[in-house]
């Protein structure tokens, strides 16, 4: 599929020497939800800023919809929307006016019907006449989304869209993102909630210290880096492992009373292997009193990647 956004060798060194982006190459496809994961200060917001015109790249190129952002930025920016991390908007403005202003700022003719549609989809229509300062935090964030959608962007950046939002509102926000995806909007989101990326994203990129450590399909990443972990509590402690058990990726722990299995991948292979292991234990006459299995999450993979600081093969 054609890339909608392409970054090549993108670097940003701030005055003072901080390298926020280090030779980043990234290609985002049309219609996908791309989650950019990374700890605080990893370079996520700088990357978004570089594409959206808030940050001047030190080197590298950015192409959006085939337009070079260094030269043909007007055409590219008119199709990009941004929901910033901070609740930055004129708090004295009424909701509808703020959203209409955003549409006009991007050079589009007023369209009350379209604004109504956007406000209704975000459950803001009833609040259209209210000043933004009078709204709750979750509603303010939805106003920012409405402002970003006012010019009907094809590519939308959501910088920490659910930061500081309670669980219920977060789920509501996910539903909104889902609707946008259904409309064909390409979405790039940064998040601290790995669970969010796991649930929403088609592809995931992990960034740390300005370097893009890995980009892959979420499912492929889970399959490649995912693990199954099983703790089998033995009825009697074992000093050594018999060969038929030793062929599995297992280790003895807790003085030989726990057999720990760590293997498989994110596709369920590990579970099948644990089942085989239990049969092998019975075959070898080793009794057990409990089994606890756990599949590794995207969060485990993320933490492991950050720990290693390099792309695992």
């Amino acid at each position: 599929m054609d890339p909608i956004l392409e970054l090549n060798g993108l670097s940003k060194v701030y005055r003072g020497g901080l390298k926020a982006l280090d030779n980043v190459d990234l290609s985002v496809r049309k219609g996908e939800i791309f989650a950019l994961l990374g700890p605080n200060g990893a370079g996520k917001t700088t990357l978004i800023g570089a594409v959206c015109g808030l940050v001047r790249p030190s080197s590298g190129t950015i192409h959006a919809f085939g337009h070079d952002l260094a030269t043909d930025w007007r055409k590219a920016r008119s199709r990009i929307g941004l929901v910033p991390q901070e609740l930055s908007t004129d708090m004295f403005e009424p909701v509808e006016h703020a959203v209409s202003y955003s549409r006009g700022l991007f050079g589009l003719a007023p369209d009350r019907q379209r604004i109504e549609e956007i406000l209704r989809s975000l459950s803001l229509w009833e609040k259209r006449g209210e000043r933004i300062m009078a709204l709750s935090g979750g509603m303010k964030r939805r106003v920012l989304i409405a402002k970003a959608l006012a010019h009907e962007p094809d590519l939308l950046f959501l910088d920490e869209p659910t930061a500081g939002v309670d669980v219920e509102l977060r789920k509501g926000m996910w539903a909104i993102i889902d609707k946008m995806r259904a409309r064909g909007t390409t979405i790039i989101l940064t998040t601290h909630y790995i669970e969010e990326a796991e649930m929403m994203a088609d592809r995931v990129g992990v960034i740390n210290r300005g370097k893009l450590l890995m980009v892959d399909e979420k499912d492929a990443m889970m399959a490649r880096l995912g693990r199954t972990e099983a703790h089998i509590t033995l009825a009697q402690p074992l000093a050594t492992l018999p060969p038929e058990i030793g062929r599995f990726p297992v280790e003895l722990e807790a003085g030989g009373t726990v057999l720990r299995y760590r293997g498989g991948d994110g596709t369920g292979k590990g579970k099948a292997e644990v089942a085989e292991l239990t049969k092998a234990l019975i075959g070898a006459g080793i009794d057990y009193v409990g089994i606890d299995t756990r599949e590794s999450s995207l969060e485990d993979i993320f933490v492991s990647l950050l720990g290693e600081g390099e792309v695992p093969q």
Binding site: L54, D90, G107
Partner: protein
């Protein structure tokens, strides 16, 4: 290519912001101007001789107009761009497909409009206290617009330069207001003893007050073309500085 819809959006939003505080924005200059006319026009002015053949109360109108015009235009424009920087809402402007032209016409045009509204209000207020007529009304309007444009641009630069509220207020308060007071608002430069009459010519505001006074009464401290030239030169300088700011992203883009 300029996006006029984007320009119109910035312009109207700025005017709406002005209208939100219209009571304070309009009432404060009207009250200040009225006080000046009561003190200098009625109380003291009655005892002053005519200056350049103009009654003292009428003589000070262009200066007072310039005093309000410079202060209000600079602060309106500087706040207009500083507040989005301060609150973070500037992200929307920077990420939109708008360039320096749309931004300037929008922000500076709105600041100019506000200034022209204020100038009209001040002239109407002055009419309540002093009898005056304008010798070259078209030129007066043109000159007021020229000064408003130049100082809107100046305010815009100030709003980008300032990184706190103190800096935002320091230039109008410590430089513009004193220079306007010393720029012949209440007197003719000819009235100053030597060498102060020559030193006063180093004050750029002298040329602005003098130029506006010429459009009102046909008399001035300095040649009208010098006044026009200096105003245009200042305007060109401000445009160049802003073009540089947008080109480099200084204080706008990280």
């Amino acid at each position: 290519m300029i996006s006029w819809r984007s320009t119109w959006s910035i312009y109207t939003r700025e005017l709406v912001r002005f209208l939100r505080t219209a009571f304070q924005s309009v009432l404060a200059p009207v009250l200040t101007t009225s006080l000046y006319f009561i003190v200098f026009g009625a109380a003291i002015g009655g005892r002053m001789p005519d200056l350049d053949g103009v009654q003292y109360g009428a003589f000070i109108i262009p200066g007072l107009l310039m005093l309000t015009l410079l202060g209000e235009t600079t602060s309106n424009s500087s706040f207009g761009i500083y507040m989005p920087r301060f609150t973070g809402t500037i992200y929307e402007l920077l990420s939109a497909p708008v360039g320096v032209t749309e931004t300037l016409i929008g922000f500076v045009g709105a600041a100019m409009t506000k200034s022209l509204i204020l100038a009209t209000i001040i002239l109407v207020t002055a009419r309540l206290f002093v009898d005056y007529s304008i010798a070259y009304p078209v030129l007066a309007v043109f000159y007021i617009m020229l000064v408003a444009a130049a100082f809107s641009l100046f305010g815009f630069i100030l709003g980008i330069w300032a990184d706190n509220f103190e800096k935002l207020g320091i230039i109008p308060m410590l430089f513009l207001t004193p220079l306007t007071f010393l720029g012949g608002t209440f007197y003719s430069i000819d009235m100053l003893p030597k060498p102060w009459d020559t030193i006063a010519l180093a004050n750029p505001i002298v040329y602005l007050v003098s130029g506006l006074r010429w459009t009102f009464y046909g008399t001035s401290d300095v040649n009208i073309w010098v006044s026009f030239g200096i105003t245009l030169g200042f305007l060109a300088l401000c445009v160049s500085v802003i073009a540089y700011i947008f080109k480099t992203g200084w204080r706008l883009r990280a």
